[in-house]
């Protein structure tokens, strides 16, 4: 048994890429070791990473592959020899296994006697195997963005590779990649130690720790957390804003992290917190500090890639940078106020939304009209919408795109508009709607807080999605540059979150109307984008109900098949359906409905006549009559429950059809030969059953597990 160390030393790897590639390298090396008999099948390989290295350390691998012997069966003896002399078949076999004919064995098995051979294979040394295969593993890493660095461009990697360590215990594995020969020397932290000899594979972690490098990524993150705590504890009651995303970044920007606390002038706190936090977090990678009530304090924490700051130079430098940044923000804030949002509306004509969909002025006009229409529907369902505020918010929501502050901090679009609206004495409703209208940014993000914000957000997104589909620019595969999927998910989440009776089909039909007669409409691709859009929305609804809300896929299919335009309704239906699916009656019904559907399909395929309405006079069997009576009776009750939105009761009612339906299938033959009228009438009965009882869900979609 031996320990295997493999380190790829590199110039600084982008922080965002490190975690994934560390994992991939670990998986690949484990697979390589297993595939070549050097490692037990279940073992995993510990990995390490810093900005300057990716490492695997596999303990207890075999120093050599095990020797193997394999029995190979050749031609039957009858074929192999003719008159006691070997035939060409025997010669070919001997050649294949590399053994002289005279030394081949005879193997008997139930099928007869065969020529055979035992091939002994000596296991290769691990060093040999690895030396041959490791370069391929380096080349196989698939980085999001690669570069060339050597003349002739022989290889690509994320950044230039500068050293490689490849050791089996203490023995160097001869590996060469990108002109670099592997050795036993790694490199320590840039500022403290240059080259460090790793004499023995297992000494890797400790040796590098002495060289000021913590190679264990989680350990660095923990160290950062502790240092953040320690630095914050110097101020009673204060705490740092937990931010896993930022922690991941700084842990991968440092090899030897430490933390310092800095401060800024209290007067900057008069700027909106969102601006301050964006500058600190997104631009400077600082952690914000707040008091016990969550209020921002004039302090920040920054993670260093060095031991500390005894002379305070680093703190001083960072404070200086932050001051300049905040001064800029304040400068932009003040100068932006000179032109209030309402005077920026005209200027939106000069800001392109999308090259074929026109400018933001046109977009906000469309959004305004689309939002107004949706508000009208909502009022019809007795929701209180502030029309005036919605109208105003729609006009103003994109105006912050021309502000200096948004040009400087694009991630604050919408938020800045909301803050400015408030500052410029627009109503709170208007300000909130603008502030929230890009929300939700993801499925984890919250939906707009107010009804007006929700409607504005939906209209804005629907306008983009509708326009892009009309241009034929729907997302394909992994390509979705305008994040239309994300935006559609946002619409779905917002509708569900606010329980809005907005009809999705109507929403996009309304959106098409707003494009009518525009320059953009002239560029719309002719064709079936409406079908594509419908399929796209169907996918998003499925995704929401299944992956976000956790409903079983078959139930989701069942309710969406019965109608996908009203999401709130679909949600109520799927909830009710989930409540009854496990009942015996329902399982039986879904089986019967599948049968009904099949029969009707066969009838269609055979071009059989289906009666328009089942006629009582044409009945022959009791079971037939009883089913028709039951269908008529039950469907009336179902309809009443359904209209009241009481889907649970409706479904319970539907389940009462089971005895009649079972008995119908037991006793009645639908596809009767010879009596076309009777057949047509029975088909009509089934058709009615299907039509009346499929308004909540298409039960035939429900999958019954075989128990």
């Amino acid at each position: 048994m031996a320990d295997f160390l493999f380190e790829i030393g590199c110039e600084e790897i982008p922080a965002r890429m490190i975690d994934e590639q560390e994992t991939i390298l670990g998986i690949r090396i484990a697979k390589l070791l297993r595939d070549h008999g050097l490692f037990p099948a279940t073992a995993t390989v510990p990995t390490f990473s810093t900005p300057r290295r990716l490492t695997v350390l596999a303990r207890g691998i075999r120093a050599s592959q095990p020797d193997t012997q394999e029995r190979v069966i050749g031609p039957s003896l009858k074929v192999a020899y003719e008159n006691g002399k070997p035939t060409p078949a025997a010669e070919a076999f001997a050649k294949k296994v590399g053994i002289e004919i005279s030394r081949l064995e005879k193997i008997s098995n139930p099928k007869g006697e065969y020529l055979g051979a035992t091939i002994y294979k000596q296991g290769r040394r691990a060093v040999e195997v690895l030396s041959e295969l490791l370069p391929k593993e380096i080349a196989a890493l698939n980085w999001p963005k690669n570069m060339y660095w050597r003349e002739g461009k022989p290889e690509r990697f994320v950044r230039p590779i500068r050293w490689i360590v490849a050791l089996l215990d203490g023995e160097i594995i001869p590996v060469e990649f990108a002109g670099i020969k592997a050795g036993d020397e790694s490199r320590g932290h840039r500022l403290f130690v240059d080259e460090v000899k790793i004499g023995w594979a297992v000494a890797y972690q400790d040796t590098l720790k002495k060289a000021h490098v913590i190679v264990h990524r989680t350990e660095r993150e923990l160290k950062v957390r502790q240092a953040l705590d320690a630095a914050t504890h110097t101020m009673p009651g204060a705490r740092w804003r937990d931010d896993k995303e930022l922690l991941d970044i700084v842990a991968n920007l440092t090899e030897w992290p430490s933390v310092i606390l800095g401060g800024f002038d209290r007067e900057f706190l008069s700027l909106p917190e969102q601006v301050l936090v964006t500058v600190m977090r997104d631009h400077q990678k600082y952690f914000a500090v707040e008091d016990a009530t969550g209020k921002l304090l004039p302090h920040f924490l920054t993670v260093l890639n060095t031991e500390g700051d005894p002379e305070g130079l680093i703190r001083h430098g960072n404070e200086r940078v932050l001051r300049a940044r905040f001064n800029d923000a304040r400068f932009f804030w003040n100068s932006d106020q000179k032109v209030p949002l309402k005077l920026r509306v005209e200027g939106l004509k000069y800001v392109t939304f999308q090259k074929d969909l026109g400018n933001y002025f046109e977009k906000s006009q469309r959004v305004r009209s689309l939002a107004g229409k949706q508000a009208a529907y909502l009022k019809a369902s007795k929701r209180v919408v502030d029309d005036f505020a919605l109208h105003e918010a729609a006009e103003l929501c994109k105006t912050d795109l021309s502000t200096e502050l948004v040009k400087e901090f694009p991630e604050l679009q919408g938020i800045v508009g909301g803050l400015y609206a408030k500052h410029q004495n627009h109503s709170q409703t208007v300000a909130d709607a603008i502030y929230d209208h890009y929300k939700p940014h993801s499925m984890e993000d919250s939906v707009p807080r107010t009804l007006e914000g929700a409607v504005l957000s939906i209209a804005d997104k629907a306008d983009t999605i509708g326009g892009m589909f009309a241009l034929g620019l729907q997302p394909t595969g992994s390509k979705d540059p305008f994040p239309l999927r994300r935006q559609a998910n946002g619409i779905v989440k917002t509708i569900a979150g606010h329980k809005l009776r907005i009809n999705l089909n109507q929403l996009f039909a309304d959106s098409r109307v707003t494009y009518k007669g525009s320059e953009a409409a002239k560029k719309f691709a002719p064709g079936e984008h409406e079908d594509a859009l419908r399929a796209f929305l169907h996918e998003r609804l499925e995704f929401y109900l299944r992956d976000v809300r956790g409903f079983a896929y078959d139930l989701v299919n069942a309710v969406l098949a019965a109608g996908q335009d009203d999401l709130v309704d679909a949600l109520a239906r799927v909830e009710a359906l989930a409540g009854v699916r496990d009942s015996k009656d329902f399982e039986a019904i879904s089986v019967s409905f599948k049968r009904v559907k099949n029969i009707l399909r066969q009838a269609r395929e055979s071009k059989f006549v289906v009666g328009e309405e089942p006629i009582r006079a044409l009945r022959q069997e009791d079971a037939e009559r009883s089913l028709l009576d039951q269908v008529s009776q039950i469907s009336t009750v179902v309809e009443t429950h359904r209209k009241a939105g009481d889907y649970r009761s409706a479904l319970t009612e539907i389940s009462k059809i089971r005895p009649a339906l079972d008995s119908f299938f037991d006793k009645v033959m639908v596809m009767v030969e010879g009596n076309r009228d009777l057949r047509a009438n029975r088909l009509a009965l089934l058709q009615k059953l299907l039509a009346d009882f499929s308004t909540i869900a298409d039960f035939s979609e429900i999958v019954i597990e075989k128990k």
């Binding site: 600084e12 982008p14 900005p51 660095w149 950044r159 840039r190 060095t306 005894p310 680093i314």
Partner: protein
């Protein structure tokens, strides 16, 4: 901070450092540029196989960044110290860190990080992979491994180090405003001259010019003239004879290469472009069949003097079939060789004029995309012409006139 470097000492130290490491010390390029990358010492030198090492200060003008001298951190014109190492030595990062030591930064007492930042300049058809170098939270240098320039894949690649001189000086001197940076101190009298003393008035006047005073129509005209002149230096000369409603264009036989480098003969020929009136700009694309392949001409000549036969440039001849290749005359029958070096000056003029129009708010977003593409075409065109010329020189030992 005591005994920190003055602005000019900072420059001198960095220049000395890189001169000692074999760099040619160049002087700032004397045409307006937005960044040191655009100067020929970078833009052209990174092309082709010849190794090169150079360092120079490049005043870089960005009209839209002007703040009338009111913002302590932003300038219309800032200075970059640009270093090109072609090919990059293996210890290029270490060399860079040593250069920081050379300007008095004790690395042991500061926090240095190399954070991902990939540089891209669409108007130059250029991009690279690299970092922004952060010193105590301040971006002091852009460190780029150039991968492509002028639309051409580079081999060998170059390392480009771009030091932000004002930022570094402000950091060294702990100045809160760029204008407070000490430019120099008179060793005799001890009198200091600040950055503001030297440059504030310039910032103010150029802000007024770029945002308010620049004559949009004239600048547009200048841009077109420079663009036309640029094309005329790098493309196949065609001539036209004006007729009342149309223009006859004809060209002499010439030899050129297609995008795969195959030599092809283009016989002399002619075509007619319709809908032309003297004085009207020719902006529409006319397609003509050239040796059974469709070729697109994109032109904008000055037709104000219809009686004279002037060279009409064709822009790049672009095969409509994919991949798009660009044809350039290898040997011109009428003897005027391509002149990529002067062409670059003209291209830079265009780029700067575009920036002024942009700062002036005179470019609509739709137009913007178009103008950027036009300038990119120039940059790509002249880069290819430059490369072709280099290749020709390499293959003809007796050649004279290495581009300076």
């Amino acid at each position: 901070m005591k005994s920190s470097l003055t602005f000019q000492e900072l420059i001198l130290r960095l220049q000395k450092f890189w001169a000692e490491r074999g760099c040619v010390l160049q002087q700032p390029y004397d045409v307006e540029v937005g960044a040191g990358t655009m100067a020929p010492e970078t833009f052209l030198r990174v092309l082709g196989p010849k190794p090169y090492k150079v360092a120079y200060v490049q005043p870089s003008r960005r009209p839209a960044d002007g703040r009338y001298g009111e913002n302590p951190n932003r300038l219309y014109k800032h200075s970059q110290l640009q270093v090109i190492l072609k090919p990059p030595p293996e210890n290029v990062q270490e060399l860079y860190l040593q250069s920081l030591t050379a300007i008095g930064i004790d690395l042991g007492k500061h926090d240095i990080k190399f954070e991902e930042d990939n540089w891209e300049a669409p108007t130059l058809g250029a991009w690279g992979i690299g970092w922004q170098v952060m010193l105590n939270g301040l971006e002091i240098t852009q460190f780029t491994y150039f991968q492509q320039c002028g639309g051409v894949d580079l081999d060998p690649i170059s390392a480009e180090l771009t030091y932000g001189l004002e930022r570094i000086a402000a950091f060294l001197q702990d100045a809160d405003s760029i204008y407070d940076i000490i430019w120099t101190q008179d060793p005799q009298t001890g009198k200091t001259t600040t950055y503001g003393d030297v440059r504030l008035e310039e910032e103010l006047q150029f802000s007024v010019y770029n945002f308010e005073a620049a004559d949009v129509e004239k600048i547009r005209k200048h841009l077109e003239l420079y663009e036309a002149e640029c094309w005329s230096l790098i493309s196949i000369p065609l001539r036209y004879v004006p007729k009342p409603e149309s223009v006859m264009i004809y060209w002499d036989r010439f030899v050129t290469k297609d995008h795969q480098g195959h030599r092809i003969n283009i016989p002399s020929g002619s075509c007619i472009l319709n809908d032309l009136k003297p004085g009207k700009e020719l902006t529409r694309h006319a397609a003509l069949d050239l040796r059974a392949k469709t070729v697109k001409f994109s032109t904008a000549p000055d037709l104000s003097n219809p009686s004279e036969t002037i060279p009409l440039y064709a822009g790049p001849l672009v095969f409509k079939t994919q991949p798009i290749g660009v044809l350039y005359a290898e040997k011109l029958v009428n003897a005027r060789a391509p002149l990529p070096l002067p062409a670059l000056d003209l291209c830079l003029k265009c780029s700067h004029l575009f920036n002024i129009l942009d700062a002036r708010g005179a470019i609509s977003v739709t137009e913007r995309v178009g103008v950027i593409a036009r300038i990119r075409n120039l940059a790509v065109g002249l880069a290819k012409a430059y490369l072709a010329q280099q290749a020709e020189e390499a293959s003809t030992p007796a050649s004279v006139g290495t581009p300076a």
